[in-house]
């Protein structure tokens, strides 16, 4: 056991040494790429952490703690209506775990004992493809249209691929284990509408705080942008009520927090980020000192943060180094012409290449966003970008190996083919219109 650990350290050190030994510091463009990487990290830290990532982690925490996973699972039993299973499978990615290996037992459970191959595949695709953090960051960094296209595309993909798989393998699917899927016990709790209310208030805070400056200075969107902090504050007040009445925090704690936010607003009326951050800091404190669900909420928020932030920033650093940062129009170590030649424009080849690349490449949660941002800046077309988003996070080489052990070579191959073909096609269509 110990020996294995020591060898691991040796391997890391050797890899680092080889990198340092052959590092092409003198080469023209190398230092530029380093600058690009640092610039991109700074841009993410300034633009996305306080207003976007932190609320998003709290939202993910709400989902993990307050929404019963059993509630979703009951739609996958052997007796569940088919269309309902498909529908729930295709959207359940939003409320379930972030990591694709976590949901594998549930996948094989649905497949063998539950609703069958179709819904299982729909679930397998949508699970990692439409997690809420990824959608939020995509819309924020890459633009609203592509964020919407990603979520709509992922839901449609899940349903269509599930149906096609069930159709192609309908003969083999007849035999099924007698035993029904065991469900974890429901622990009652608050009614769903209350949890949803709390959830949506937080989502609206996130949406309005991040409302982008529209291109034309008139109309409803501009009005919303102009008043975005007023609207965010209104939702902030609602959020305080929901903390007291839904989450059942001590009302004096919540009031104290509200006073702190109000004071921050009075002292810094021109930098709304300060009261906004004050809100989340005090929220962390008051949930942390309340045992039970509130503390669990904070802890699971912290779990997500710990798991995702280091990977995301490593991803940003690497993407900035390799591809340059679109914000400064700089060059990374990979020449823009190469990117443009492979995935530029909206040709069939560009879309196909993006899909294949996405299917095999492993993206740690959220890192697909800075990578695609870098590629777009280096000349990637919008169609191929969507193709990569739809094929990328849902499947990867390691994930294929595990799926293969559950459903066999033939079904795995067909599944991957369907994902790649559909991603290519969607990229072509999207690229035509946007």
């Amino acid at each position: 056991m110990e020996k294995k650990k020591e060898f691991k350290i040796l391997a890391y050190l050797t890899a680092f040494f080889l990198f340092a030994y052959f590092m092409p510091v003198e080469r023209e463009g190398f230092m530029d790429a380093v600058y690009e990487a640092l610039y991109l990290v700074k841009w993410y830290a300034r633009e996305h952490v306080l207003l976007c990532l932190i609320p998003a982690f709290f939202i993910a925490g709400v989902i993990a703690v307050f929404i019963s996973q059993g509630a979703v699972i009951k739609y996958f039993g052997a007796k569940a209506t088919k269309w309902k299973s498909y529908l729930v499978a295709s959207v359940s990615g939003i409320v379930l775990a972030v990591c694709s290996c976590t949901i594998l037992p549930l996948f094989s459970g649905i497949h063998k004992r539950g609703a069958g191959l179709g819904p299982a595949i729909a679930f397998l695709y949508s699970g990692p493809a439409i997690n809420i953090l990824a959608i939020i960051l995509t819309a924020r960094v890459l633009g609203f249209e592509i964020g919407m296209a990603r979520i709509i595309g992922a839901v449609i993909f899940a349903i269509v691929i599930g149906l096609l798989m069930a159709l192609i393998f309908r003969k083999e699917e007849k035999a099924r284990a007698e035993e029904a899927l065991k469900f974890p016990e429901e622990h009652g709790g608050r009614p769903l509408w209350k949890t949803s209310l709390h959830f949506f208030i937080l989502v609206f805070i996130l949406i309005f705080a991040n409302w982008g400056h529209p291109e034309v200075a008139e109309g409803a969107w501009y009005w919303l942008w102009n008043n975005k902090w007023v609207i965010t504050s209104v939702f902030g007040v609602l959020f305080a009520f929901s903390l007291i009445y839904v989450i059942r925090l001590n009302r004096w704690y919540v009031m104290g927090s509200a006073v702190a936010v109000a004071l921050a607003t009075v002292f810094f009326p021109d930098t709304p980020v300060i009261p906004f951050t004050t809100g989340f800091v005090t929220l962390s404190i008051i949930t942390g000192i309340t045992p039970g669900e509130p503390r669990e909420w904070l802890l699971s928020t912290w779990e997500f943060t710990k798991q995702i932030v280091p990977l995301l920033f490593a991803g940003v650093l690497v993407a900035g180094f390799l591809l340059g940062s679109p914000e400064s129009n700089g060059q990374g170590i990979i020449p823009n012409e190469w990117v443009a030649a492979l995935v530029g424009g909206n040709s069939l080849f560009a879309n196909f290449f993006a899909s294949i690349f996405g299917a095999f490449m492993y993206f740690a949660t959220l890192t697909e966003v800075p990578i695609i941002q870098g590629l777009l800046g280096s000349g990637m077309g919008k169609g191929p970008a969507l193709a990569l988003l739809l094929a990328g996070p849902a499947i990867s080489l390691p994930n294929m190996l595990v799926i293969h052990s559950v459903i066999g070579t033939k079904k795995t191959t067909v599944f991957i083919l369907l994902v790649v073909v559909m991603a290519t096609f969607s990229g072509l269509v999207y690229g035509k219109f946007f």
Partner: protein, 85 residues
């Protein structure tokens, strides 16, 4: 009833989080000075048979304690301590 060791089963296909859970269990056992046996279950069928739908799953003395997450260390400590009594 006092058992000579606490039986811990960890369910998961061998991803990073399952390994981490196994490590934490080992650490906790060491800190509490409790004899444990840790078994890793990687077979998908067996995982589902035991009612684990999300990995990593943790079973102590035949009882499923958690699934889909790595429990906080203090909670884990309590569980192992209670199981050892």
């Amino acid at each position: 009833m006092k058992k000579d060791r606490v039986e811990i089963k960890i369910f998961g296909s061998g991803c990073m989080r399952c390994e981490k859970l196994a490590d934490e269990c080992r650490e906790v056992a060491q800190e509490l000075n409790v004899a444990v046996s840790i078994e890793k279950v990687t077979d998908q069928d067996e995982i589902i048979n035991e009612g684990v739908l999300f990995t990593p799953g943790l079973m102590i003395n035949g009882k499923l304690m958690s699934s889909g997450k790595i429990p906080v260390k203090n909670t884990l400590k309590n569980w192992v301590q209670n199981a050892a009594k």
